[in-house]
């Protein structure tokens, strides 16, 4: 009897398992076939629409089936999102017979949710992606589709307006998996400071060319305005990658870099570089003299919040034209800040692939997604609607200049740097009216890093990378803010890095980089 009971037991168990297996297999297959047919549909759609698309645009729209595009990007959800979506839908239906679903995800939850959505095969058309946000890893896992053909077919507007260096520099294994935002191409490090305070104290900032010139300035500030932190930081100071001009050849969290402004192609730990050590000494000097806030290594107050609180004289910032105005506006003291560029202007993969839109491999209609991205790069109305909201509701406009209204707060995603071409953006009345001309000028004459276009594939050393990330989190801030003695601190830091497998990661980086250089 007992034996019998047990047998039937296993019978039922087996049955259930089998049922579950079938179910899951079905779901797996279903998902897969859905995906592949989806892809085919897209291609078919692409094939049929291509000829007409080259001809009359209006006709092409007539042939496109309605499609709802989902756009997933980091940022806070906005109160008036639905209103803006509706306005966008009107324009998009007319142009590409599509509607849009905006899906902003808070920064804090971004990594978690995006990984879940990608792994969960959520049906999404367009994801925001960036070289520093695991782009290469996601590409290797098949999250994004290759865009070169689509770019040729539907991305003509992008190709016409975007500096070729962007697309060139965002390639992975010779292919594009994301369309870079058209914005400043060059990067440089510099200082943003309170101009009104400098004037009040009679400090001549025109003599300040590099970080070492700041000591004299800070001495005066500290003495005469004790209420201000001369140099506020919540992380590194002069050794931030944009200031030191370090090119980490892809993910900035993986050690091993070259200098963007040099031709040397030897990969080194930045911590071994002379520039790093010099800047470290300077940071330490500033820290011990009390120029840098004492809690720099641990504070959770971001620079912008410190600015808002009005307790800061200067911060180290990544430079672009109008950076000081941007910070001043956000802090509610327009016109009171100025900026000084302190380093060479350079271009590296971190800029070209620093902000992109990728088309998900789950997209049912990749062609339409590309059409939309193309519109973001070419259509002023759509671009500005997405970035600033509805005219006369969220802002008022006079030519290219826009002025905030009391409804501005209901739609202010602050994500203009993610979508299409920034050169199409309107300019706030508090910014320089010739902002975009300045940008263009800024982009010119920048030095290209030898690593431009190369992205390190960390797969072969992934266990080391994880261990190194922990070490970096543990030491980096304390060392780079000058909070600890650089001699001893750096020694401990390096030792911990080496124990975590630094040499192996650097060797791998060098190997891949050398191969890249050979094919270049």
């Amino acid at each position: 009897m007992k034996k019998k009971g047990k047998r039937s037991w296993f019978g039922v168990l087996a049955l259930v398992m089998a049922a579950a297996l079938v179910l899951s297999a079905c779901s797996g297959n279903g998902g897969n076939s859905g995906k592949t047919t989806g892809g085919n549909d897209g291609n078919k759609g692409a094939a049929t629409t291509t000829p007409t698309d080259n001809g009359d645009k209006g006709e092409a729209v007539g042939e496109l089936k309605p499609h709802k595009l989902t756009l997933v990007y980091p940022g806070s959800p906005q109160n008036d999102e639905a209103v803006v979506e509706e306005a966008l839908n009107k324009l998009l239906t007319e142009k590409i017979n599509a509607t849009i679903d905006l899906m902003p995800i808070d920064w804090g939850a971004w990594d978690d949710k995006i990984n879940l959505m990608i792994a969960g095969r959520d049906e999404v058309d367009i994801y925001f992606t960036a070289q520093w946000n695991g782009h290469a890893n996601n590409v290797s896992k098949g999250a994004f589709i290759e865009l070169n053909d689509l770019l040729d077919q539907y991305g003509q507007g992008i190709k016409d307006s975007l500096d070729p260096a962007f697309l060139e520099g965002a390639k992975i294994n010779g292919k594009n998996y994301g369309v870079p935002t058209n914005k400043e191409l060059a990067s440089a490090g510099g200082l943003v400071y309170r101009k009104d305070v400098a004037d009040e104290l009679g400090i001549d900032m025109s003599n300040v060319k590099g970080p070492e010139d700041l000591a004299a300035v800070y001495a005066v500030v500290k003495e005469k305005r004790p209420d201000l932190t001369p140099l506020y930081s919540n992380g590194g100071v002069f050794n931030a990658h944009y200031f030191g001009n370090y090119d980490f050849l892809g993910d900035g969290t993986i050690p091993g870099a070259i200098l963007k402004d040099s031709t040397d192609t030897t990969v080194q730990a930045v911590e071994d570089m002379d520039r790093y050590k010099d800047y470290l000494k300077l940071a330490r000097e500033f820290f011990t003299k009390g120029y840098i806030n004492a809690d720099a290594a641990t504070t959770q107050v971001a620079p912008q919040d410190a600015w808002n609180a009005g307790i800061v004289f200067s911060t180290i910032e990544p430079m672009k034209p109008g950076k000081a105005d941007e910070i001043a506006n956000a802090a509610g003291m327009p016109g009171k800040m100025a900026q000084i560029i302190m380093t060479e202007k350079t271009v590296a993969t971190s800029e070209t692939a620093g902000s992109m839109l990728g088309i998900s491999s789950t997209s049912k209609d990749p062609a339409r997604a590309m059409m939309f991205i193309n519109l973001l790069h070419t259509d002023k109305e759509i671009n500005n609607l997405l970035n600033f909201g509805i005219e006369d509701v969220h802002y008022t406009r006079n030519g290219e200049i826009i002025t905030p209204t009391d409804k501005s707060g209901d739609y202010a995603p602050g994500s203009a740097w993610m979508f299409g071409s920034q050169f199409l953006n309107y300019v706030w009345n508090t910014e320089a009216p010739d902002k975009w001309e300045q940008f263009k000028a800024f982009n010119e004459g920048a030095i290209s890093s030898p690593g431009l276009g190369f992205v390190f594939n960390s797969e072969p050393v992934k266990s080391e990378v994880g261990a190194l990330a922990n070490v970096i989190k543990q030491f980096q801030k304390a060392v780079e803010t000058g909070s600890v003695d650089p001699e001893q601190g750096l020694k401990d830091y390096l030792k911990a890095l080496e124990e975590a497998g630094l040499a192996k990661v650097i060797a791998e980086k060098q190997k891949q980089f050398d191969e890249f250089l050979k094919t270049k």
């Binding site: 998902g31 959800p77 919540n234």
Partner: protein, 313 residues
């Protein structure tokens, strides 16, 4: 045992000779007063901060007695309470519907496996027990809900996953086995009552204590859950109060811990704004409000129920 839990006097109370010495009794009394304070004080601190003036918080830090009181934080929160009310609604719906459904489903499952005469009872006991031992992991689980059931951004994704707790099913089963006399069931069957009727008319009324306890536990589980929102919900329309609270500190935490990423975002042109200190704390108070008021009431039943089920479990 449930009856004894009600018994008021302690053993020592019944015999005047068997009492603690005065100093010892006083020591115990003092000890518990201090410990009770330790339990309350953190909550008090949060309440006080939420009623503080923002500038004094920035200057003096979190204080038990702020230099200046202010309702600013609550005014700010309730200036546009749509999200809070919405999230409250979601939390309440999820808690009520989730608890009721899960109670019904678990009891319905537990009854057959409690019957010794049911030949498959053992298998189905194991069927539920096995889920306590083995899990497939986050990804496939997520895939099932999102791909198979299509519940992304759906309120049912906040309810279904917590519906069956193997542990509670087993507790209910044990209760059925130990407290419902077989004779009663037998005589009901002889009277020609169907199993469903027996279950509803006889078993359920006799099992109220354990059902109440499980209901309370489930209420707490549903109300305090934030993980399911984190995983399944991307639109703010369907997030619970707990997740709303969590989300607020997420952004701050994220940037503090990822200076590389923060730098990258900043160099790409992004900026950040955070809610003020007092608003954050006010949000916490708004979030724990109902539980604080409900818990003394809950507690009574918890104590009753815990001794019924969990010990036996």
């Amino acid at each position: 045992m449930e009856a004894t839990a009600e018994k008021t006097p302690a053993h020592s109370g019944s015999n005047p000779k068997n009492q603690l010495s005065k100093p010892a009794a006083f020591g115990i009394q003092a000890f518990f007063i201090i410990y009770s304070l330790i339990c309350i004080i953190p909550v008090v601190l949060i309440i006080m901060v939420s009623f503080s003036n923002e500038t004094t918080v920035v200057r003096d830090g979190y204080q038990f007695w702020p230099a200046a009181f202010s309702f600013e934080a609550y005014e700010f929160l309730f200036k546009d309470p749509t999200q809070i009310i919405r999230s409250y609604g979601i939390s309440i719906f999820v808690t009520v519907v989730g608890t009721l459904l899960s109670l019904v489903i678990m009891a319905l499952y537990a009854y057959p496996i409690s019957r010794r005469d049911f030949p498959h009872a053992k298998f189905f006991t194991f069927f539920v027990f096995f889920t306590m031992l083995f899990g497939g992991g986050l990804v496939p689980w997520y895939l099932v809900y999102v791909q198979m059931l299509g519940l992304k951004d759906n309120i049912w994704a906040l309810i279904l996953p917590l519906m069956i707790s193997a542990f509670f099913v087993l507790i209910i089963r044990t209760f059925f086995i130990t407290t419902i006399p077989n004779a009663v069931l037998e005589s009901a069957k002889i009277d020609g009552a169907g199993e469903m009727k027996i279950f509803i008319k006889i078993v359920l009324p006799l099992s109220l204590p354990v059902l109440a306890t499980v209901a309370l536990f489930q209420t707490l589980t549903y109300w305090n859950d934030w993980f399911l929102s984190l995983v399944f919900i991307t639109k703010d329309a369907n997030i619970t109060v707990q997740y709303l609270m969590y989300k607020m500190m997420l952004n701050i935490q994220f940037l503090a811990n990822n200076s590389n990423v923060a730098n990258a975002i900043r160099s790409a042109g992004g900026t950040f704004r955070f809610p003020s200190e007092t608003v954050r704390m006010a949000m916490v108070i708004v979030g724990i409000g109902p539980i604080i008021f409900a818990y003394p009431f809950f507690q009574k039943y918890f104590v009753k129920g815990l001794t019924v089920g969990a010990v036996k479990g």
